[in-house]
């Protein structure tokens, strides 16, 4: 019951935040001294045509009226029609989002696994060689420009070693089943193992590149948190019980140490989602990141706004989930 009301309250906050984001993105985009119509029509188009089209799209109305229209649309779940693709923004998002989600989930898994393992190893072997190696390896992830690392890995694993396929979501002549739009999930649903294998092989590099960057932050928190937990009294109790080192670490320390890590993972997920742009470009990944960035370059208002709101929504939702997870993980949070 309490949990439910908590969730409701959080959802309400989320709504508030979304409203704020909506307002902000609207005004920021309008402040930009650029002309979407001119951009879409191209550099050659004469000014009369530009004006005509601007009028058609209602972009010559006073800004407050535009804002009212825009809010009206949002309230009705309508983000409008993309100036660029000439399709409802919702359709575009539906088309591009699953790819990004799939990538982000794969990356977050990589982040979690590597981050936690590195963190534990570092903490347990604190200040020993293995600690140094793990930390440096993790930090290297944040140290390299994504596009640079992406190209490097492609060159290595695809071009030179030929272990992994090149860019794209799946091989060209493979036609994966379509339910959710996430190829891996769809293949699992359909039981199409060959395609699944193909899709997974395509997923490895981009997910690694994207996830590697946040691995360091998770590993860092994990290490600190583990060290913290290991110095606590109840660990001494466990040792005094005569439990072996392994049990002390994995049974007694781990769950406690994970609690603060969960929050970081929630935040990482957000940055993974929005940081996917570069990875998507390097790996020809048809995701929503590229869509939004392009929308922004063209100043395709509806697409920018819709995409941003959508991101904000997914991010907030992810964090809500994390917070609930938090409650599940930490009995002290129970009511």
């Amino acid at each position: 019951m309490k949990l439910l009301s908590y969730i409701l309250k959080r959802l309400l906050f989320m709504l508030l935040v979304m409203a704020g984001v909506a307002t902000m993105v609207f005004f920021i985009t309008r402040v930009i001294p650029a002309d979407p119509v001119g951009a879409i029509l191209g550099g050659n188009a004469p000014i009369e045509l530009v004006d005509k089209m601007r009028h058609q799209l209602g972009l010559d109305k006073p800004i407050h009226l535009q804002f009212v229209d825009y809010l009206n649309g949002i309230v009705h779940g309508d983000f409008g029609v993309s100036l660029k693709t000439n399709r409802p923004v919702t359709n575009d998002l539906k088309e591009f989002f699953p790819a990004t989600l799939e990538l982000a989930i794969a990356s977050i898994l990589i982040t979690i696994v590597f981050g936690i393992v590195f963190g534990i190893l570092s903490a347990v072997h604190r200040n020993k060689l293995i600690d140094h190696v793990m930390r440096v390896f993790a930090i290297m992830g944040v140290s390299m420009p994504v596009f640079w690392m992406g190209l490097l890995l492609l060159l290595l694993f695809y071009y030179v070693l030929e272990w992994l396929p090149g860019s794209g979501r799946h091989s060209l002549f493979v036609f994966p089943p379509h339910y959710t739009g996430m190829v891996v999930v769809d293949c699992l649903i359909a039981g199409d193992w060959a395609t699944l294998w193909d899709a997974l092989r395509h997923l490895v590099l981009p997910a690694f590149v994207l996830g590697y960057a946040s691995t360091a932050s998770v590993a860092r928190i994990m290490r600190a948190s583990m060290l913290d937990v290991l110095s606590q009294d109840f660990i001494r109790t466990a040792k005094a019980k005569g439990l072996s080192k392994r049990i002390v670490i994995y049974r007694h320390a781990l769950k406690n140490a994970l609690i603060p890590v969960v929050t970081v993972i929630g935040i990482s997920f957000g940055s993974l989602l929005s940081g996917a742009v570069l990875t998507e470009t390097v790996f020809s990944w048809p995701g929503v990141g590229r869509y939004i960035v392009h929308a922004l370059l063209f100043l395709d208002y509806p697409a920018v706004v819709g995409g941003t709101l959508f991101f904000a929504f997914v991010y907030s939702l992810a964090n809500l989930v994390v917070d609930i997870l938090y409650v599940a993980l930490d009995p002290r949070m129970h009511v």
């Binding site: 984001v21 985009t29 930390r135 960057a213 929005s274 922004l296 920018v304």
Partner: protein, 300 residues
């Protein structure tokens, strides 16, 4: 009379020096811990090297970083890192680039830490409605896809390096706000704050003179840790065509501009890429180190 005062001041200062032994000891302690964490030491060296590079760029550079010459020369003894697509000496550009990075770091730090503290401390200190409002605003910025927001700000402010950096600062402050808030809440509950309150200090005085000095150090640590992200965000914006305006030798821009030469002319991207990597690594190691050293459990 005045002389007496001066005298007493001087004697007080000597007294201060005499008795600042504990402070020195503290320093010694810090140094000791520093030495015991080799990674922090390495990080420090990296950053020191980076700063020296920025300071002495004109001395270190072998060429004019903007002068065009024979292009796409591989590394050699005249061009340590080769030349780029216009025939500019990459080594010299990397040296001068250090200055740009320092500038980036400086502005972002000031802007984002400044906003972060400005939002975080009152939020944590007052709590209640103030906290709710400020935190919802922070949430809003957090929920905003960072790159999009940075791009939008950059576009709105006009795309040049300083504006790009400003934009990153405007986007990046949320972390610091949250951290400052959490710290403030922690500090607020400490008896020494209550003691100061009971002495009759006003809220502003408490926040400024007592909470701020305590809240700032974790924020600074976090800042060093985020330095890498900041530099890389700048590079990412460069990749998307925003960011430093040519011919500014910004490392991220060099890498992203050179990426189409990646396969044939590896040196264009590799050296500046490595420079970024080393500095980011340095900052991270340093930040990790400082954090470890500030950790009371170790400090004991």
């Amino acid at each position: 009379m005045a002389e007496v005062q001066v005298q007493s001041r001087i004697s007080r200062f000597t007294l201060f020096l005499e008795h600042s032994k504990p402070i020195l000891e503290d320093l010694k302690h810090t140094l000791y811990l520093w030495k015991r964490t080799p990674l922090a030491l390495i990080g420090t060296l990296m950053i020191a090297g980076f700063l020296l590079m920025a300071i002495f760029a004109p001395l270190l550079a072998t060429h004019d970083p903007l002068a065009h010459g024979e292009h796409l020369l591989p590394p050699s003894s005249t061009h340590f890192f080769g030349t780029d697509q216009y025939g500019r000496d990459i080594f010299s550009r990397v040296m001068y680039g250090a200055r740009v990075e320092v500038w980036i770091i400086f502005i972002v730090s000031v802007v984002s830490v400044g906003i972060g503290l400005l939002v975080g401390i009152p939020s944590g200190y007052f709590g209640g409605a103030v906290d709710q409002v400020l935190m919802r605003i922070t949430d809003m910025f957090l929920a905003f896809p960072q790159l999009v927001l940075a791009m939008a700000f950059t576009a709105a402010l006009g795309p040049n390096l300083t504006n790009t950096i400003l934009a990153i600062g405007l986007v990046d402050w949320t972390v610091f706000a949250r951290l400052a808030r959490a710290e403030t809440i922690k500090i607020k509950g400490q008896p020494y704050i209550e003691a100061i309150q009971s002495l009759g200090a006003g809220k502003l005085r408490i926040m400024l003179l007592h909470v701020l000095p305590m809240a700032i150090s974790p924020v600074i640590v976090q800042l060093t840790l985020r330095m890498g992200t900041i530099i890389l965000t700048a590079a990412g914006l460069g990749f998307l065509g925003l960011g430093a305006q040519p011919p500014t030798p910004e490392w991220g821009a060099i890498v992203s501009d050179g990426r189409s030469y990646f396969i044939q002319h590896w040196w264009i991207t590799t050296f500046p890429g490595m420079a970024i990597g080393v500095v980011v690594l340095g900052f991270n190691l340093l930040g990790d180190g400082i954090r470890d050293i500030l950790d009371p459990r170790i400090r004991r």
